[in-house]
Symmetry: C2
C-alpha cells in the first residue's frame, strides 16, 4: 500500500467525489443478474453430472504464482492489476481461473484425488484497454481435469461442451465443437525451424483468421500488418513458402472429420505432427462412440491464442447467423473453449502434471443465447405493494405485508413519503402484480381494496361498455381483510395464465 494521497476525481469539485465507475467496469441490473444466474445454474448441473467438483480460490494471488500466461501481452507487464503487499511481495488479481488452479494443485497435490476434476466460476480481471463489449472484469466458468494424460479427458471436455449447449436450449445443429491439436502446428513450425520466441506471434496471427481473413493473417505471419487506424503490428517474419505451409496446416478443411484426418495425415512430416494426428484420431473415435460424431468435428483452423497449450485445443461456436438490431451479422466467436496444458503445474513443482480444461465465456455466451431468444431475463414478478393511505396506520399496513410474506408472496410496504399517485407510479415501476389499499372507509368495513395492475393496464383498450365495467370490477375489488392472501393469490394466478 502506498501512502500517496488520493488525487481528486476529474470533473468533481474539491469537496465531493464524482459518482462514476472506473473505465471498463460495469454494474449489472436485476434482469441481467437473474438471466446470468439461471444460465450458470444450468451449466453447473451439467458440470456436476460429469463428475466435476466445485472449488473456489481467492481473487488475489502472488504475482509470481500467476506466471506470465496472459493471452494478450500487447502491454507487457500490464495485463494484470498488481500491487505490493506490506511485506513488499507483489500481489495480482487473477486474470483467469487456470493459473490459480495450477497453484492450488501444486500446493495440495498429495491430498487430492488423482485425476482431480474441478469446476470453478467467478470474476477475473484484465488490466487492458476496455472497448465496446470488452470489460476489465468479467466472469468465467471453467472445468478442468488435472493429472490425466489420457486423451479421453480432452474428448470428454468436448462432449461436456456439446451437452452444455443442449442443456442451455441450443438445439442440435445450432452449435459445433471444433477440435484440433496444437501439435499439428508445432510439427510444421519444427519442420520450418521457427524458434520458441516467435511461436506466440504465429499463434496470435492464426487466431485472428475469423476477424482478419486469410490476407490479414498472411501479413501477420510475414512482415506485419497496418490496420485501418494506421497502427502497424509487427509480424512473425516467416518466408513466403513457410507461410504457405502454416496456412495449409491451419485451414478449415472441407469435408467431414474422417476426410480431414486423412488430409492431415499427408501433412504430418514430423514427430509432433504425427502425435497430433494420433490425438485427434483418438478423440474422434471416442466422441463417435459416444454418439457425438455430428456435433464435434476435427478442424485444423483452431489453434487458440494462448501459448501454454500443449495438445488438443477446442472451441464451441453457435452456428446460426446472429444479427444485431441493425441487421448486421455478428461474429460472436467461441463461447466455450480450452485445451490441454501439460506444463502449468510443473512451473511450481518441476514435475509434469498433465492437465486439460475448458472455459465458458459467460457474458459472450449469454449474449449469444439472448440473441437466439433464450435467457432474456426472467420477467420476475415484482412485489405486491401495500400502499400507505394513512401515515398513522403504518403498523396495520406492515402487518398486511407480513401476512402476505408468511404466505410466501413477494410483498412490500411502500416506504417513501409521497402521495397515492406517486405510490401507484412506484408500483408500476417495480412491476407489481397488484397493490393493496386500505383507506378509512375500507378500514371501517374491515375490508381491503385490491387493484390488479396487469388487468388494469388493459382496460383502456376495451371499447364495449359492458365488457369494460365487468373487467373494471375484476381489476379493482374489495375483500374482507381476512381474505387478503386468498384474493392476492387469485390475482397472481390469473396473471400467470
Amino acid at each position: 500500500m502506498t501512502k500517496t494521497e488520493n488525487k481528486p476525481a476529474q470533473g468533481s469539485d474539491n469537496s465531493r467525489p464524482e459518482a462514476r465507475l472506473p473505465k471498463g467496469m460495469q454494474d449489472s441490473p436485476a434482469r441481467e443478474i437473474r438471466a446470468t444466474e439461471a444460465m450458470l445454474a444450468t451449466i453447473k448441473t451439467v458440470f456436476e453430472r460429469y463428475g466435476f467438483e466445485p472449488l473456489a480460490t481467492p481473487a488475489i494471488e502472488y504475482t509470481d504464482a500467476l506466471g506470465k500466461f496472459l493471452p494478450d501481452q500487447d502491454r507487457p507487464n500490464e495485463g494484470v492489476f498488481s500491487f505490493q503487499d506490506d511485506d513488499e511481495q507483489w500481489l495480482s488479481l487473477r486474470y483467469d481461473l487456470t493459473a490459480p488452479l495450477a497453484r492450488y494443485v501444486a500446493e495440495n497435490y498429495q491430498t487430492l484425488p488423482k485425476p482431480f476434476r474441478r469446476y470453478q466460476t467467478g470474476p477475473v480481471w484484465r488490466n487492458e484497454k476496455p472497448g465496446p463489449g470488452r470489460f476489465r472484469q468479467f466472469t468465467q466458468f471453467d472445468a478442468d481435469t488435472v493429472g490425466a494424460a489420457s486423451i479421453a479427458a480432452d474428448a470428454e471436455l468436448c462432449m461436456l461442451a456439446a451437452d452444455t449447449m443442449e442443456a442451455l436450449g441450443v438445439p442440435r445443429g445450432g452449435y459445433v465443437v471444433k477440435v484440433n491439436s496444437r501439435k499439428i502446428l508445432d510439427g510444421v513450425l519444427d519442420s520450418i525451424g521457427v524458434e520458441e520466441g516467435r511461436r506466440l506471434t504465429v499463434l496470435r496471427a492464426i487466431d485472428k483468421f475469423d476477424r482478419l481473413g486469410e490476407e490479414g493473417v498472411r501479413l501477420l505471419l510475414g512482415e506485419g500488418r497496418k490496420d485501418e487506424s494506421g497502427d502497424f503490428t509487427k509480424g512473425a517474419g516467416l518466408k513466403a513458402g513457410d507461410i504457405d505451409k502454416v496456412m495449409v496446416s491451419t485451414s478449415p478443411l472441407s469435408g467431414d472429420s474422417e476426410t480431414t484426418l486423412a488430409q492431415l495425415m499427408l501433412l504430418a512430416d514430423s514427430e509432433a505432427g504425427a502425435e497430433g494426428i494420433t490425438e485427434l484420431r483418438t478423440i474422434w473415435e471416442l466422441v463417435k462412440a459416444g454418439g457425438y460424431g455430428q456435433r464435434i468435428v476435427i478442424d485444423p483452423s483452431i489453434v487458440r491464442g494462448l501459448e501454454y497449450y500443449t495438445g488438443p485445443v477446442f472451441e464451441t461456436e453457435l452456428t446460426p447467423t446472429i444479427k444485431d438490431a441493425r441487421g448486421h451479422e455478428i461474429r460472436l466467436g467461441s463461447v466455450m473453449s480450452g485445451g490441454r496444458y501439460d506444463g502449468l503445474v510443473a512451473r511450481f513443482t518441476g514435475e509434469q502434471v498433465p492437465a486439460t480444461g475448458i472455459s465458458v465465456g459467460v457474458s459472450r455466451l449469454l449474449f449469444g443465447l439472448q440473441l437466439l431468444g433464450k435467457y432474456k431475463g426472467d420477467s420476475a414478478q415484482g412485489p405486491v405493494v401495500v400502499l400507505v393511505f394513512d401515515k398513522d396506520r403504518l403498523a396495520d399496513y406492515q402487518r398486511m405485508v407480513q401476512t402476505l410474506r408468511e404466505a410466501d408472496i413477494r410483498a412490500e410496504l411502500y416506504l417513501g413519503s409521497s402521495g397515492m399517485k406517486a405510490q401507484m407510479k412506484y408500483a408500476d415501476k417495480r412491476g407489481s402484480p397488484c397493490v393493496v389499499i386500505q383507506g378509512g372507509d375500507e378500514k371501517a368495513r374491515g375490508e381491503v381494496q385490491i387493484k390488479d395492475l396487469v388487468l388494469g393496464a388493459t382496460l383502456t383498450k376495451i371499447e364495449d361498455r359492458e365488457e369494460y365495467l365487468k373487467k373494471q370490477a375484476e381489476a379493482q375489488f374489495a375483500v374482507p381483510e381476512a381474505k387478503l392472501v386468498e384474493a392476492v393469490r387469485q390475482v397472481l394466478s390469473r396473471q400467470k395464465t
Copy 2:
C-alpha cells in the same frame, strides 16, 4: 501499473515460484462451497420475498468513490487494497457493499424507483492483518433500502433478519435481533460535549463490550488500555463522570423492550436523544404489530463500530451457547447487522438521501449454523465411476458413462493411468456410490459388473456366513449391459434409504 520486476518468492529457488496462498487468503473446498451456496440460496429467497432486487457492482471502484468509511483504521490509509490506473487515478478493491451502493445510487438516481430496494452478495477485501478466522477476502450479503426516511424501513430490516434466521433453520428463541438508535448515544455525547473527532474512538470502545467487559471499555473511554501483549491503545479521554453517563446510556438494560424504552426516556436530556427514543418506539410498535415482539428487542448496548450510522442500528445474535471442539464457549458476535446511514449518498450529490441497510457476515453465520448442526455441507454423492479394465476399450467405457449421464446420473470415466486397485481407491476417495466394471469375460457375455461401494464397505462387519454371502451378492453383481442404467438406479435408491 508499475514496471518493477517481481521479487522472487521467499523460500523458492530462482527458477520456480512457490505454490502458496497470499496471507489472509483461503481456498474453499467442495463441501464448504456447497454448504455456503445452500445457505446463500435460502437467504436470497427471503430477501426476494421482502421485495429486494439483485444488483451487482464491480470489485474495483475509484478510491475516492469508496470514501473513508473503513470500520477499523488501525492502519490509516491501509485498510483497502489500492493501485493506480494507467491514467494515474487511484483504484481500490471494495471493502464492503455499502460504499459501492452509494456510488451506484448517486450515479443512477434519476432512473431508479424510489425507494430503491436492492440486495447484493459477493466478496469484499480488507488490507488488514489476518488472524485466526480473520481473512482478507470474505463474502457479504446485504439488503438496503435507499430513499426511505421512514423508520418503517429499519423495522422491516429487523423483521427480515428474524425471518432469515428462521428460514435457515434457527428456531424461534434461538436468535435475537437487538435494536438501538445511534441518536441516543449522540444525545449523551452532545450533552457532555464530545466533539466529532473523538466520537469514533468512543463508538469503538463501546463496540468492544462483549470482548473486553465493562472495565476494559471504561479504560478505552478514559485514558486508554494496555492489552495482554503490552500494546497500549489510547482512549477517548473522557472524564469519570462522563464515562458513567456513556456507560449507563449503553448498558444492556434488564427487562423487556417496553421497560427499556421507559428507562431510556429518563436519560433523554437532548434533542438527539429524544429523537432516538421516538425512532425506537416507532420500530417497537411496528415489530410488535407484525408479531415479532419477542424476537426483536430494544437494547441500548448496540452501537456498531462504524462512524457513518445516523439512526437505528441492529445486530442479530444466535442465542444458544456455542462451544468449540474443546468445550470452550465461543463468542460468535453478530451474524447479521446494520443500521441507518443518511449521509452516504450526499457525499457525492450534496443532497441527503436517507438509507438503511443490513449485512450478513456469511462465513461467521455459516460457522454458527454448522456449530448448531445445520448446513454441515451436503454430502453430495460422488459420481458413478466406470473403471478402465482394458485400455484398448476406452470408447466402450466412455459410451457407458454417456449412457449414465443421459439418464441424469452423475458419472465419469476413470481418466488416470493406474491399475484396478488404484482405480477402486480413487472411487472411494471420490465418494462414489458404485463402480462399473467390464472385463473380457463380461464383454463376451454382454454384461457389466456393478460394485456397490457403500454396501461393500459394510460386509466386513457381518459375522453370519449366510448373511455375508447374501449381502456380498447384492454388493457385487452382473447385469446385461442394456440394463446398466436400471441397475445403477437401483443401487442409488437403496443407498438413499
